[in-house]
């Protein structure tokens, strides 16, 4: 029997998946017509993975509030769609492993320099080589910071702060990291020894897949007020670091998928997909998992902090730029779950918000934003594809009302890795980028083919849909000068 999903168009870029069957709330999808058509095609073609079904399944979970959301970069994930947001009542609701996924607190750090694009013209290639040597990336790469088991525990408790304490960064970095780089409630005893052992060699490594390091230039300022608050201007050289919690996060996910499967049975929560295993938020199992996610998140913050230090060392070597001149603009994750306050039907409620492939995007005035950004709201970092553009965006008041203050995280894949690898050659992708003046240093050419810019949706379209829906506002457009891939 084919599945049926009734979608009602609310506005140009907003759709309602009407409540049916066991759905406790409707689904709300912010996307353009092409994206919606793609999701419907997946259903019609009976694809084993379809994001509409995933939105519906999330809407069936106990304690979900208002609606199961999908943002314009939506595509099929595991349990939750990528680009999915689910907010749950603390008393009635559940915490869901698939709402966070494998790469806990995978995210982006944006660093700003006082340099102008022209300052790099003679040394770009040298800088690319130095970054390629300095930042461990790709399969089997090992970090420079080796920690004991006790030190790993400290890192899991303290996050980026631990790395700064070790001398890799400055106090000002911490102010400009989501949650100041340290999620509270992280108890390392709920993380398996195995997860920690897997991390021994991986602290301060970039990884592979869609992770990257890009030196970029600000090509366009769209929102001058917010750009001024963030210290961004046209022509400026910035750097984006996209990575997550590495093997530690992956192992936490693998461990808790098993543990939460038992919890789901114990609490008699019907499971519509194995990755939607969950436990009541206030149960022992729920609290343990949330604490483990806090550890994983702190590990990711620490990881990006360490890489930021390595980037600074490259800028110092090649451009004699002092470390303190390379400023953290912001660091924000796009796979996490957190307790937040939101207005629901006119009342402020404490909710557990899952964001899978989606960032927090709090609008103006929230105390969670750093003081210097509070008037405009904190930045959100939208990774584009390696040959095109990335965006700095910000949250809006409408986004607070409609999307629990959430933002898009990237372009979203359009082609599968297999199809991309068949269609493109790594070398051709590299030459095409070189013709556009972008230097690519990659550890895997196969990876380059799979990450070919055309394998992703057009980031402009995704940014446009989020803007049109009114949930996010673009601030600046960044274009890569050099790209380091795993």
């Amino acid at each position: 029997m084919s599945e049926e999903f009734t979608l009602k168009r609310i506005s140009q870029s907003e759709w309602l998946l009407e409540k049916s069957g066991e759905m406790r709330v409707p689904g709300r999808i912010f996307a353009d017509i092409q994206t919606i058509e793609q999701l419907q095609t997946d259903v019609a073609e009976k694809k084993e993975w379809n994001a509409l079904r995933q939105v519906r399944d999330v809407a069936c979970l106990p304690g979900i509030v208002t609606a199961a959301l999908a943002l314009p970069d939506v595509h099929p994930g595991y349990g939750f769609p990528i680009g999915g947001v689910g907010a749950f009542d603390l008393k009635e609701g559940v915490v869901v492993v698939g709402g966070v996924g494998f790469d806990i607190n995978c995210g982006v750090r944006l660093l700003a320099t006082p340099l102008h694009k022209e300052d790099l013209s003679d040394v770009l290639s040298e800088l690319a080589d130095d970054l390629y040597r300095t930042v461990p990336a790709g399969l089997g790469s090992e970090g420079k910071l080796r920690l004991t088991l006790d030190e790993i525990d400290q890192l899991l408790r303290e996050g980026a702060r631990y790395v700064v304490k070790r001398g890799y960064g400055v106090e000002e970095d911490l102010v400009h990291i989501e949650e100041e780089g340290q999620i509270p409630g992280a108890d390392p005893t709920v993380v398996s020894r195995l997860a920690k052992q897997r991390q021994f060699r991986q602290v301060g490594t970039l990884g592979s897949g869609n992770h990257y390091l890009e030196v970029q230039t600000v090509v366009r300022i769209i929102d001058p007020e917010a750009a001024a608050a963030y210290g961004l201007e046209e022509g400026q050289v910035v750097t984006s670091i996209h990575t997550g919690s590495r093997a530690l996060g992956h192992q936490i996910c693998q461990d808790y998928l098993k543990e939460m499967e038992q919890a789901s049975r114990r609490y008699q929560i019907p499971i519509r997909s194995r990755e939607l295993v969950c436990a009541p938020i206030l149960s022992d199992e729920g609290k343990r998992y949330l604490s483990a996610v806090a550890c994983g998140s702190n590990c990711a913050f620490a990881n990006r902090q360490m890489i930021a230090h390595l980037v600074r060392s490259s800028f110092a070597r090649i451009l004699s730029l002092a470390a303190e001149k390379v400023r953290t603009v912001y660091d924000i994750g796009h796979n996490n779950v957190k307790v937040e306050h939101h207005l629901v039907d006119g009342t402020t409620c404490e909710l557990l918000v899952h964001r899978k492939g989606s960032t927090r995007a709090f609008g103006p005035g929230r105390k969670e934003s750093p003081p210097d950004y509070r008037a405009v709201g904190h930045p959100t970092l939208v990774g584009g594809t390696m040959g095109t553009a990335s965006y700095v965006m910000r949250g809006t008041n409408l986004g607070m009302e409609k999307a629990f203050g959430s933002g898009i995280h990237g372009a979203g894949r359009a082609l599968s890795r297999r199809k991309a690898a068949k269609k493109y050659w790594g070398k051709d992708v590299k030459s095409a980028m070189a013709a556009d003046g972008i230097i690519l240093r990659a550890h895997s050419l196969r990876g380059v083919a799979e990450e070919a810019p055309s394998a992703y949706k057009d980031v402009e379209r995704v940014v446009h849909a989020a803007t049109d829906a009114g949930i996010n506002q673009p601030v600046a457009c960044l274009r890569p000068l050099l790209v380091i891939k795993g």
């Binding site: 993975w49 595991y78 399969l139 089997g140 897997r198 693998q254 297999r418």
Partner: protein, 142 residues
């Protein structure tokens, strides 16, 4: 002729499928499919071996355990494996697996590395026989 292993389409990640005349062969091929995502298998010499012993209530879950354990061991020992042998025995409560893999530590640039696999998901999970052919498949997160 059937492909010993192959990859099926999945938008964000990869669905791998191992096949064989026995469930054990299908598990070995799924493991080869897993490592082939990370490295060229033909470049990996079977110099050192790695043993694993696992249990799961169902065959599908055993496949996730098997592939996850291989990923874990890769991180702990640094060994990349290219050949496998598996014995699966059905017990009272479920299935026991005794496995062995052969390979060597990563040695770039002699080894051409590909992508890292983050984890083994329960998505697209399927272990069954169709006629004489066993299939062992699941999606892995890249």
């Amino acid at each position: 002729m059937i492909m010993p292993f192959e990859y099926l389409d999945h938008t964000a990640d990869v669905c791998l499928r191992g096949t064989g005349e026995t469930v054990e062969e299908a598990f070995c091929e799924a493991a080869r499919a897993l490592f082939n995502l990370m490295i060229d298998l033909e470049q990996v010499a079977p110099k050192r071996s790695q043993r694993v012993s696992l249990f799961a209530e169902r065959l599908e879950l055993l496949l996730v355990e098997w592939l996850s354990e291989l990923l874990v061991q890769k991180d702990l020992t640094g060994l990349f494996l290219s050949r496998f042998h598996v014995d699966i025995r059905q017990g009272k409560d479920g299935f026991h697996l005794e496995g062995e893999g052969w390979g060597e530590p990563l040695d770039p640039p002699r080894h051409r590395v590909k992508l890292e696999v983050k984890g083994v998901t329960y998505s697209g999970l399927h272990v069954a026989h169709k006629g004489k052919i066993w299939i062992a498949q699941c999606v892995v997160d890249i």
